[in-house]
Symmetry: D2
Subunit: 316 residues, 4 copies
Amino acid sequence: MPGVPPTHFMFLGPEATFTEQALLTLPAAVRGRRTPARSVPEALDAIRSGEADAALVPLENSIGGAVGITLDELIDGTPLAITREVVIPVEFVLGAREPIAFDQIRTVAAHPQASAQCRGWLRTHLPEATVIDVLSNSAAAISAAKGEYDAAICAPIGADRYQLSLLAEKISDHPDAVTRFILVTQPGTPPAPTGDDVTSLAIFISHDRVGALLAVLMELAVRGINLTRIESRPTGERLGRYAFFLDCTGHVAEDRLGEALQGLHRVCADVRFLGSYPRHRAFDGDRPVPAPAGLSDVDYADAAAWLARIRAGDLT
Amino acid sequence: MPGVPPTHFMFLGPEATFTEQALLTLPAAVRGRRTPARSVPEALDAIRSGEADAALVPLENSIGGAVGITLDELIDGTPLAITREVVIPVEFVLGAREPIAFDQIRTVAAHPQASAQCRGWLRTHLPEATVIDVLSNSAAAISAAKGEYDAAICAPIGADRYQLSLLAEKISDHPDAVTRFILVTQPGTPPAPTGDDVTSLAIFISHDRVGALLAVLMELAVRGINLTRIESRPTGERLGRYAFFLDCTGHVAEDRLGEALQGLHRVCADVRFLGSYPRHRAFDGDRPVPAPAGLSDVDYADAAAWLARIRAGDLT
Amino acid sequence: MPGVPPTHFMFLGPEATFTEQALLTLPAAVRGRRTPARSVPEALDAIRSGEADAALVPLENSIGGAVGITLDELIDGTPLAITREVVIPVEFVLGAREPIAFDQIRTVAAHPQASAQCRGWLRTHLPEATVIDVLSNSAAAISAAKGEYDAAICAPIGADRYQLSLLAEKISDHPDAVTRFILVTQPGTPPAPTGDDVTSLAIFISHDRVGALLAVLMELAVRGINLTRIESRPTGERLGRYAFFLDCTGHVAEDRLGEALQGLHRVCADVRFLGSYPRHRAFDGDRPVPAPAGLSDVDYADAAAWLARIRAGDLT
Amino acid sequence: MPGVPPTHFMFLGPEATFTEQALLTLPAAVRGRRTPARSVPEALDAIRSGEADAALVPLENSIGGAVGITLDELIDGTPLAITREVVIPVEFVLGAREPIAFDQIRTVAAHPQASAQCRGWLRTHLPEATVIDVLSNSAAAISAAKGEYDAAICAPIGADRYQLSLLAEKISDHPDAVTRFILVTQPGTPPAPTGDDVTSLAIFISHDRVGALLAVLMELAVRGINLTRIESRPTGERLGRYAFFLDCTGHVAEDRLGEALQGLHRVCADVRFLGSYPRHRAFDGDRPVPAPAGLSDVDYADAAAWLARIRAGDLT
């Protein structure tokens, strides 16, 4: 129920993958009940049916490829709301049942996308090992824990959960890679603004994309709204209707974003509001990008006061 | 006093020129007191001092060149407000004390800009006549009425006032030319919106003109505000500050224009609101340009209602 | 080698998935040699090393999640070029070793994303069946062919290859879903313009995204270049540098797109040209979107001729 | 004839006004023949007919109001070209036949717009004097020289020409006011670029002004072309066609402006090129505004070289 903190959390399973690791950064989830779902649709349907209060699913995921399906689920069916985001680094580890020298490793279990992301490291450090595809990062950890394979590429939580010896850390070829998860609940009044929030939207525009998309960006730019993500979705091409997912700086309760949202509502074929929620701080000292000159909250208040004066005939 | 209909009208003199002709299209001025001023600054100072209630002066004037000084006066000194516009065609006539054949006319009195605008006609119909420069269109009419010259180029009102015989009408080489006058009063609550209004502004922007001007136009365009006039003013070039005069469709009391004005206030170095007033209808059947798709008042109301719903957590 | 038609094709394996199905729409690939790769990086490295001539990999893929890694590979390492796109519908089938009634099916093998996309169908038609996760669509087909499970969700090519009985076709909950593949080769002169081409780019812009992205879209819009896809990539957030993938209408050899590309090169921190290639026609009668008024090729030629005249002093 | 320096100069008369003062800043005009014209159309027709080589007329004129007629003349009739601009300060002086104390002055001859611009000074220094309207600044000087009136407001050249005693200098209430003149000839190859040039244009756009004008500014902004003047012209309102006069930084011979002009030619109903000519330097040390980041000539050359490389298949 909106307004009541969630106690039962779904997450994209299986257990001991990056999604569960992300979920455990939330104190309420640590205290609450956590249930893995077989798929993103299953996790979200548990929210729709009221079976659980909140679901953590990947939104931008270098591993696991769940992004498209998350987006599709958010714009199909009854509306849901994003109330939180969690961003974690994609730091793969190499674990094994027991400490083992690299040159002794002949088989490495890994999810195909995990091994793809660690290919450079594997070529350098384990050139002779055979990579065995498995269904998930946790399946890799489990198989190594059982001794089915000599080692596994997995998330840190997987190595920990299945008590693997850590042979190497941060073995990804993309050290800056992050994965972004969203916590989804039934719609309700959004969390209060914090001064550093993100608003997620799905917009639909008709044919003639550049002109229409330019109009969308102008609605944001004139209000000093920053765009931190934009993604078009492939659609059946006969339909002449295009979906874009946008993440903007700001909160629906703020004048600035409220004005921009109304503008989008006017120029787009459709707009689906997906939620306003606190921006994840990536590191200590991470600060919101300041509004451009003339577009701060103080400037908004000044302009509103000026308009009230001239409407009343005070031109001094 | 704002709210009280004016009874004492100043106008840019002398009498019997296009300005008085324009003034006499206003019923209140026909009934009220009308005083010619020697110059635009004198006319406007009579309003500032309270000596008169309203002043009619040219804003865009193909004849008389008063535009620049009107604009300068509106942005210097204590603020004034435009409450009305009057647009009249610039239709010159040729008049004489008595009917006279063209080939008998040896001298034609005319203001230099009037004769310049009728040059083609004069060359064709009075190739032998000498044009005598005089100080105004009415001075031309007066001199012809006194018999100082054989004929005069003047405004229809001048021929009428000084009882000249009309030798020819609509003799300008620019048959579509119009002159636009504004009625200026002390500031006060603007006249009520009519659904077809104009708002006049002076804006000031800093260096880097294209970028800044583009930002200004985007503020208008995203709200569907049309621009019916734009004029930059020459300024001393060291100052790095540029003035533009804009006429926009819409009324300061409307949401759409109110939002746009706030946007301009944020992005411009300064904005001076000069007034919202009914648009002059040029002819029967002259209709306001409809707002572009998605930018009508209904669209504004829809968007506001939608925003209220999503702020309340209603995403259906 | 550029200019020589490829004869040895890599594709994202395993065999008998949608990628191979897409590859077999290319006559040269039907005649040539086809080698499955374990991952997108492996497929592309085979091109870089010269081991194969061309690789078909998914770019926008509702199934399989390979998009992110394809994009990352295209912007890391030595440059490659896209020379062709293939778009196919994502039409899942249900197959089994032998004809079997729905109510006899107790186990269904499927890739997790395939079963997620067919969830509605499964709930309706096979409510009692257990879905077994497997590593790929072809692994599902193989396991059903071996009789390990009662049925499999797979691509049409998988049912065909492993001689499954078709129990149901087009069982996806998203009947319009398509997947888009690209054929990648070593860089060379792009294929000749056809009049209906796509150009793919990766652009990098610095902080302050809306302003910068707006500048990018203006470069395209003023030349009438349409944008058919835009996608931002998550990056490590400390870097202050953002990558966007764009697909534009037009060909690098054309004036219009050449001018736009130069504009992007000037305003972006970096631009990586990924290729110009014929647009995939989705269906008979699918036509390119015509250029907006004033932006056709004829208009470009007119404008160039006019400029040449005025430069030569001919102002007539 | 284009290419041959002019020797016979027309200028907007009468003699000894600001226009002649501006003309005498041109060495060729000092050496050549100078003929006053009665009006701007007369001056320009002398060029069209070949009677004179060049005409100096006001373009932006705080005094004299000739701007509108100059603009109209430039867009009507056979084309002419602007080859030079001259900007001079509007510095009025008070002159008299002989030195005379301010409190002895009872009559001051002045052009109505000159007295309007010096009103503040007159009120302070000559509160008792009567201002007599005359037809021009030089008529004022002549009348004072003849002793018809006690003093005259005129241009410095007028006081000098008619040997008046200077009673006061710089008496305008607008000390930064400048007037801008243009030198007009028959069309021909424009003067060579100097690196700091202005290009003047008249553009015509159809209804729906903001959108159309925004498109025009985008064409300039994306090429880093600065706009130093913009002015809309009143037109007969039934026509649905609007004229704007623009002054841009840059020269028609340059790639950057050439590309922008082609863009304007495509999006406008019509474009009339009025000339490219050196920018008037207002004072020592007056420098051109540098191009925005990414839009310098070096950036243009870089982008062109890059495009040539990628067209040839070189993606390194």
